[in-house]
């Protein structure tokens, strides 16, 4: 069944009839990133106003591939389990060259993690779940649909916004303006900021079809199939992926010389789909022709205006680094902005959001550009190398490693950056939390569940952790007057080592490691992570 795009109600905002008090945070754009940003802040007691020019969730499935790290962040935000339950968990990928399968890989889930490597779930479900989650904070999140920001001015200590509604325009003031207004960000354009990068000339066609019969044939579990030069689409590439509700995503490379308008018609699309899925009946759910680029802002923090998600950086879709990168942005910014608004940290802490996430997005752009270059050779010699890699890959593992149809999104390390204190441990400072199952007084739980959302000191092995203001404590395989857990099946100790102490930031990144519980060293690392040295 097609998704029911029920519109959210528009309510005339108070600003139309009189000035509103200055808002601590205004979030522009109610896509997955803007909504999750609001939920993250609300969970820390920070009020936000979310403005969106539209009143329905994402039309079309758009971002469908959500990584393990995204699910762990969404777990903290209260929607991870719902996404996992609805989503399609896949782990086997098959690569074809022509009609032959050249190899397959299994994202073989390592045991002892709450979330799998990836799930597929349509963006409209993610947005719906986030809207419903946001509505659980009626006192902290003010969600206004059909409220389009048409102008803004940074006044130094606040930003002034002009907002257009069906009933006329009004003005607002915000201490912080968070631009979650997507790849074509009107905020970015108004500020005339350079958004440089590489544009790819290839057109790609995305089609979602609904069908009862699995196009994976005898493989009854969902997989990811990728073809170089398939018989049904000579000389180009194709991708087949399953989404919930028996919706299948088909991604076809069209080459640079096609007319996108002409390609995105039922007359052109239906015969192509039939070549892939055979005679089984299907319903065309959504289609889109796109070109893409890899580009980013130099800095994501511009005075009181903060860029988060696609407004700050765009990548090609290969490797699922767009939406997943944006989720890591908001995870990074949320605790910093809340600390600054509470007065616990200097405003300069916000600058480290730019330092850390411009690095993350550069890594995403590098990986997705490489995948795109491999998939769309731009000269005969590049095509020759690509084809010979495919030929060699039938026999040689080294060549399989060279095939690049997208390196799937992994969180970046923040090692060596301002807020981290250098140190040596199995999970080094800067790395993101690795999950592990735990058993506690109240039953089974997960490390991500116990650690994320506040500064947490975790002792692995028998030791006593000191009490320090502003830092939660938990013990693994130890006993103390604070929450202690056993490492289920030894996973946590195997991953973090024995007799190591880790200080995690609220976004789950390790910011310091210790071998002895020294109060002075832990306090200093905590202060450093809160921007005391800035």
């Amino acid at each position: 069944m097609a998704y029911d795009y029920a519109p959210y109600p528009y309510i005339a905002p108070p600003g139309l009839s009189g000035p509103e008090p200055r808002h601590p945070v205004v979030i522009v754009g109610a896509g997955p990133i803007g909504l999750a940003m609001a939920v993250d802040l609300a969970q820390q007691g920070v009020k936000s106003l979310v403005l969106d020019d539209n009143n329905v969730v994402s039309v079309g499935s758009r971002a469908i591939c959500w990584s393990k790290r995204t699910l762990e962040i969404f777990d903290r935000l209260g929607v991870g389990e719902r996404m996992l339950e609805k989503g399609v968990t896949w782990k086997v990928g098959r690569q074809f060259h022509g009609k032959d399968e050249i190899y397959s890989f299994d994202l073989l889930p390592e045991p002892g993690h709450k979330y799998p490597a990836f799930i597929n779930l349509q963006q409209y479900y993610v947005e719906q779940y986030l809207v419903e989650r946001a509505q659980e904070f009626p006192d902290l999140i003010d969600l206004r649909f059909l409220n389009k920001v048409i102008d803004h001015t940074d006044r130094g200590d606040h930003v002034e916004l002009t907002v257009e509604t069906p009933d006329g325009t009004y003005t607002l003031e915000a201490e912080w303006y968070i631009a979650c207004d997507g790849a074509g960000s009107a905020t970015r354009q108004r500020m005339n900021l350079a958004f440089d990068g590489q544009t790819f000339e290839e057109h790609f066609l995305i089609v979602d079809v609904e069908m009862e019969t699995s196009p994976f044939g005898d493989h009854d579990t969902p997989e990811r199939w990728f073809w170089f030069a398939p018989p049904f689409h000579p000389g180009q590439s194709a991708l087949l992926h399953k989404q919930p509700d028996n919706i299948y995503r088909i991604d076809l490379q069209l080459g640079p010389d096609t007319d996108p308008k002409e390609e995105a018609t039922e007359e052109k699309v239906i015969p192509r789909i039939k070549q892939i899925v055979g005679d089984a009946p299907f319903r065309l759910d959504w289609m889109s022709v796109y070109k893409f680029r890899c580009a980013k802002l130099d800095r994501f923090v511009h005075g009181r205006v903060l860029f988060v998600g696609d407004s700050a950086h765009v990548v090609s879709p290969f490797g699922a680094r767009g939406g997943n990168g944006g989720v890591q942005d908001l995870d990074n910014l949320g605790w910093k902005l809340a600390a600054v608004l509470r007065g616990d940290a200097p405003p300069a802490l916000i600058e480290t959001y730019s330092e850390e996430r411009t690095h993350g997005s550069a890594e995403n752009i590098l990986n997705s550009s490489r995948a795109t270059n491999f998939m769309t050779p731009k000269s005969p010699i590049e095509a020759l190398f690509r084809d010979e890699v495919l030929t060699l890959s039938e026999r040689h593992p080294f060549a399989r490693r060279l095939i690049n149809s997208g390196r799937l999104s992994l969180p970046c390390s923040l090692e060596g950056m301002t807020l981290q204190t250098a140190g040596d441990a199995p999970v080094p400072p800067g790395a993101v939390i690795t999950d592990a199952p735990l058993t506690g007084a109240n039953g089974d739980t997960w490390l991500i569940r116990e650690v994320q959302g506040q500064f947490t000191l975790v002792g692995f092995g028998d030791m006593a952790l000191p009490q320090i203001d502003g830092i939660a404590r938990i013990g693994i395989n130890s006993r103390g007057d604070y929450p202690c857990f056993d490492a289920t099946d030894g996973h946590a100790i195997r991953r973090y080592g024995n007799a190591h102490i880790y200080l995690f930031r609220p976004d789950g990144h390790v910011c310091a490691v210790f071998t002895t519980p020294e109060v002075a060293a832990i306090t200093a690392a905590m202060k450093n992570a809160m921007g005391a040295a800035l």
Binding site: N367, E382, T391, F398
Partner: protein
């Protein structure tokens, strides 16, 4: 002979560097570059028996 991966994490960076090397060259220039590269890499391998096996692996792949 089955050839396993030896580049590990550097695989993608290597491939990109190789493509960059060919950027802007004509097909004849690329051809010559590849020949020089094969000769240089062979000398670095420096083991005739191994080179013969590698040559056979390349010849038999198609």
């Amino acid at each position: 002979m089955i050839l396993d991966d030896k580049l590990g994490q550097d695989t993608d960076a290597f491939y990109n560097a190789l493509m960059d090397l060919h950027e802007g060259l004509s097909e004849a220039q690329s051809h010559a570059l590849n020949a020089r590269l094969v000769l240089i890499l062979s000398n670095e391998i420096g083991d005739l028996e191994k080179l013969k096996l590698l040559m056979q692996a390349a010849a038999n792949a198609g």
